[in-house]
Amino acid sequence: MTTGDRVFEVMNYILLTAITLICFYPLLHILLASVSNPTALMAHSGLLLKPLGFTLDGYKLVFKDNSLLVGYKNTIIYVGLGTLVNMVMTIMGAFVLSRKDLYFKNFIMILITITMFFGGGLIPWFLLMKDIHLYNNLWAMILPTALNTWNIIILRTSFQSLPAELEEAATIDGASQAAILIRVILPLSKATLAVIFLYYLVGNWNSWFNAMVLLKDRELFPLQLLMKEILVANDSTATTIGSAGGVVIDSAQSSTAFRELVKYCAIVVSTVPILCVYPFLQKYFVKGVYVGSIKG
């Protein structure tokens, strides 16, 4: 190892540690702030390395407020139903595209590929959604996002990588196409299925834009859309959290402080599910990218 190499090694570790800390710190800050005393928070400046006091009042407010709980319920419904639809549609699409001797396969493939490059645009899409009554109801949250072309391609690649002999053997044994799909292909593709399931799951959990555009009634709003109201100030709809809920707030100052605290708590509450699930599933996510990149 030359000196140059050694210097590089040290610099590398330093740089990577710095990047890691920068990635990590904001999340730590939010977590610590969510259990800190709100007035102390307002007065504090600089990095937050430990909680200032300890209070769960913010969380109490968050859970007491009805709209956030309704949002949670909605998100769970949209994610549950939506991901199911996603999986079924994607499996069907990948299966069709993975068949070797389909006469219309190229046609379908081109049909799908073109949509990756061209689209109608936001306004025509929106007008169409309204025209077909996908507005302000449950299906507006499920159908427009039922398919993701990348995921179809990833799953198709996985189906295609199964040895042809397996299918041939099954056909010889008299299996129908349906049986081949259900008995042969799917059981052997569990890993990739898990990957795209997780991609869809996370995507559905975090989605908000379609909800903002297609939903009118607040009782239908998913969690992230409510988060937008709380966190992103330039929305004209007022949030009720912090001002209702029965907690006595004695001055304008502490009300602002509480609103800040509630922001942190809301972030934690809406992100923790994904972050909890994430470490266990990290290897699946990464694998998905590996498989997808082979196609690329």
Partner: protein, 323 residues
């Protein structure tokens, strides 16, 4: 509509006098693969409705569309909306912003994950590498709304980033998102924060399949680590870099305007407003339906042109291209 769809799907095979062989092939195919086609129907239908459907709607860009009159009854105005846009007060602003934001995104946002991957690739310590990866992948899974919420919090009057900036420059600042000049850095670097880890995965995957013999040969020649990175690793992953670069330029991976809508405000429209956010505001908020569709169409055409040009250049200069 049903009939049109059906015949479009079967078009390749139903021209009038058809050689009997192909007809028979199709019949056999349908008989053998009827289940596959059954599954294909919802999938194709979905694409036709949700992807091709809106494409017809693009025509309202050439009309003075009034929802009450409906599509057929609204007047045809040809290129009026496009001309209005080009001559209007916001054309240069939104076009310039879109271009600049994309350039920033490519110069910084595209290169950062590559650098991270290169650095990570050189780490032998498995635990360290895994920890770095786990932590840098995390922000990718946080929803955009929450990320923007964090940005708002950190760049507020008393936010961390604001304070650091004040400490460094000695000047006083209020909420950083009120200054036009700060928007691009905030937008770009928060994007890097969120995606540097995740985007580096593909490059790491590509690097893991580089032939070790190349490194061994370099070792024998006494080439140092940095030079090895430059002369071996980078060139070996050039194909994937080129493909992803074409995607980036063509805006295929763009999630751009959602984040802008979450971050911008009228104070900073002059650097923050891009074509897509302009379309959203004019179309969905102010209901200028035809006009905003025209703007959106203009943007789509430009995107495709950029994509085509970049693909062309890639094809000429490297052997890698999208098509």
């Amino acid at each position: 509509m049903e009939i049109v769809r059906k015949s479009r799907k079967l078009a390749p095979s139903s021209e009038a006098p058809k050689p009997n062989r192909t007809r028979i092939r199709i019949k056999k195919d349908l008989r053998k693969n009827w289940f596959v086609y059954l599954l294909a129907i919802p999938v194709v239908a979905w694409f036709l409705v949700f992807c091709y459907g809106p494409m017809w709607g693009v025509l309202i860009a050439f009309k003075d569309y009034k929802p009450l009159l409906g599509f057929a009854q609204s007047d045809w105005v040809g290129l009026k909306h496009f001309i209005d846009f080009f001559q209007g007060p916001y054309f240069w602003r939104v076009t310039k912003n879109t271009l600049l934001l994309n350039v920033w995104g490519i110069v910084f946002g595209f290169t950062a994950p590559i650098i991270l991957a290169l650095l990570l690739n050189e780490i032998r310590d498995g635990k360290f590498k895994k920890t770095v990866q786990t932590i840098t992948y995390m922000p990718h899974f946080i929803s955009l709304v929450v990320v923007c919420g964090i940005i708002h919090i950190f760049t507020a009057d008393e936010g961390i980033v604001t304070q650091v900036l004040q400490w460094i420059t000695g000047k006083d600042y209020t909420s950083l998102l009120g200054y036009s000049g700060f928007f691009r850095p905030i937008y770009t670097f928060s994007g890097i924060w969120q995606n540097i880890g995740w985007d580096s995965i593909i490059y790491l995957a590509a690097m893991s399949s580089i032939d070790p013999a190349l490194y061994e040969a370099a070792e024998i020649d006494g080439i140092g680590r940095v030079k090895k990175m430059w002369y071996i690793t980078l060139p070996q992953i050039t194909p994937i870099i080129v493909i992803l670069f074409i995607f980036a330029v063509g805006g295929l991976m763009a999630s751009g305007y959602e984040k802008i809508i979450l971050l911008y405000n009228p104070l900073i429209y002059d650097t923050a407003d891009v074509i897509a956010s302009y379309v959203y505001r004019r179309g969905l908020r102010e209901a200028s339906l035809s006009f905003s569709t025209a703007v959106g169409l203009f943007s789509a055409v430009i995107n495709f042109a950029l994509l085509w040009v970049t693909n062309r250049i890639a094809r000429r200069t490297s052997e890698v291209s999208l098509w």
